[in-house]
Amino acid sequence: MTVASEERKWAMGVLACAEPEALSALWEDWPGKPAFTWLRKPESGLVMVRGRMGGEGAAFNLGEMTVTRCALQLDDGTLGQACVQGRSAAKAEVSALVDALHQRSGDREAVRREILLPLEEARAAARQALAAETAATRVEFFTMVRGDSE
């Protein structure tokens, strides 16, 4: 995978896992929304989620999840696309726009700084809070010998 692909994969993952409200709030603040044309308007559908037997064996179908996907093109020809959890067309649209901007060298740094990193930090903070609360429930069990050992 190329560095560009790695970066794009990272960005799309951050967008997919973002809270829709957090993403739309950051996008609100983004100056100069770009013009674009739809290649594929937002469409909601399903992805079959797979697991592995024993966590590591052959795959099986667990059940589906809702996703929304779309693809668009900026005026300079840059393509943006999204496939994100849930049924929000707005989240898919903003995700595809951010994906496109993130590929333009002129916008990449600002997109990282203003949108992607704040989203990633918010998610890391939420995960950190969960981990800290969970860690407080760590239990030490002691085995006790019953009866007379003499």
Partner: protein, 363 residues
């Protein structure tokens, strides 16, 4: 044969209006929102997602509200809804070893890497009903502690390192899908696990319990129960690589069971597997027990004739939407069927009466 009826439109319409009223309850009370159901009846949402076979918290919460809290009806609504959506593909299998943990316990090892994390559990509560109208109230805000940074290996991975538990065959083969093809027997383990994952919790609980009581007993230990969040990746053709499309909560249960060995292979433990959406611990444990019982053939065990070993029986009756459809169809008008049976009974009685009369006349 079922002969349909027509008519009754007005009565049906009025019944549905009455249902709307009953659903809403006392209009003097505030209506409950889907978000409230999602947050405060989260385990009902988890069950509807798992057995509805669709991870979408909002849809499950809406279904629960529409179904007046009847979870099987809610599961039915979710299943029906999913048929209206196109499928974009199948995910890369989720990696449960990389789970962000909310709970993780093992009944097999006291001390294990990553520790025992109780999480938000009912375990060790005293099951005393709290009669405070504002209850149940928290015993204060949750405490926090420093979390370990290191990855938490699965217990079966630890046993697997020493070859003490059977290895899973990770070869990539086409994956059976019972939403696309009808059930066929014998069923592969992939099909069985899919059927169990969406199967009725009560049915699997009873079957799992039966194995513990001696009907195809497999001596299980709860090797590990882990609940938390995993990322889901989908391979996108246009890009040529897989991207994360979201994150879901899952419950994974691995049982460590009765060992087997042979003249050539050293003894090792076997395993049962349970995986569900959301926080569905009882369901995932039951699933793992039944999965293990159904594996008797591939593990060279005896068919003891136990219900939990009979895959045709288990898989054909695990789906509560199918089951409720067939059981509940009995209440629909069967007037024509019944008329024909009534005719038949009358005819048989008449014939019997005539035979007796002719016998008496002969005597």
């Amino acid at each position: 044969m079922y002969v349909s009826v027509k008519g009754g439109e007005r009565a049906i319409r009025n019944a549905h209006r009455l249902l709307d009223k009953a659903r809403r309850g006392d209009p003097g009370l505030p209506a409950i929102s889907a978000a409230q159901i999602d947050q405060q009846l989260a385990l009902a949402v988890d069950r509807v997602m798992t057995e509805g076979s669709l991870f979408d918290r909002e849809l499950a919460a809406l279904a629960i509200r529409q179904a007046r809290g009847d979870l099987i009806e809610a599961i039915f609504l979710v299943r029906a809804y999913r048929t209206t959506l196109p499928r974009f593909g199948a995910s890369v299998p989720v990696d449960t070893a990389a789970m962000t943990l909310r709970r993780r316990i093992s009944a097999t090892f006291k001390d294990l890497p990553g520790g025992q994390l109780l999480g938000p559990t009912f375990d060790y509560t005293q099951r005393l009903l709290d009669l405070d109208p504002e209850a149940p109230t928290a015993e204060g805000a949750p405490q926090t502690a420093t979390a370990e940074e290191a990855a938490v290996p699965r217990v079966t991975d630890i046993l697997g390192r020493d070859g003490l538990i059977e290895a899973e065959d990770g070869s990539e083969a086409p994956v059976a899908d019972l939403t696309r093809d009808p059930l066929a027997f014998p069923a592969g383990r992939d099909l069985r696990l899919q059927s169990l994952a969406r199967g009725d919790e009560g049915f699997l609980l009873a079957l799992g319990y039966s194995t513990q009581r001696g009907y195809a007993r497999t001596h299980p230990f709860a090797g590990e129960i882990r609940i938390g969040f995993v990322q889901v990746e989908l391979y996108l053709e246009e890009l040529g690589f897989a991207v994360v499309i979201g994150e879901i909560e899952v419950t994974e249960v691995q049982t460590v069971n009765q060992f087997k060995g042979s003249a050539s292979a050293p003894p090792q433990f076997t395993r049962g597997y349970g995986l569900t959406f959301g926080y569905c611990e009882r369901k995932a444990m039951s699933m793992a027990l039944v999965d293990r019982a159904l594996r008797w053939r591939e593990l060279g065990e005896d068919d003891k004739g136990a219900p939990a070993q009979d895959e045709e029986f288990v898989l054909s009756h695990a789906d509560n939407v199918q089951a409720t459809g067939f059981v509940e169809h009995l209440k629909l008008p069967h007037y024509v069927d019944f008329q024909s049976e009534l005719e038949l009974v009358r005819k048989l009685r008449r014939e019997q009466e005539e035979r007796r009369a002719s016998l008496e006349a002969a005597e």
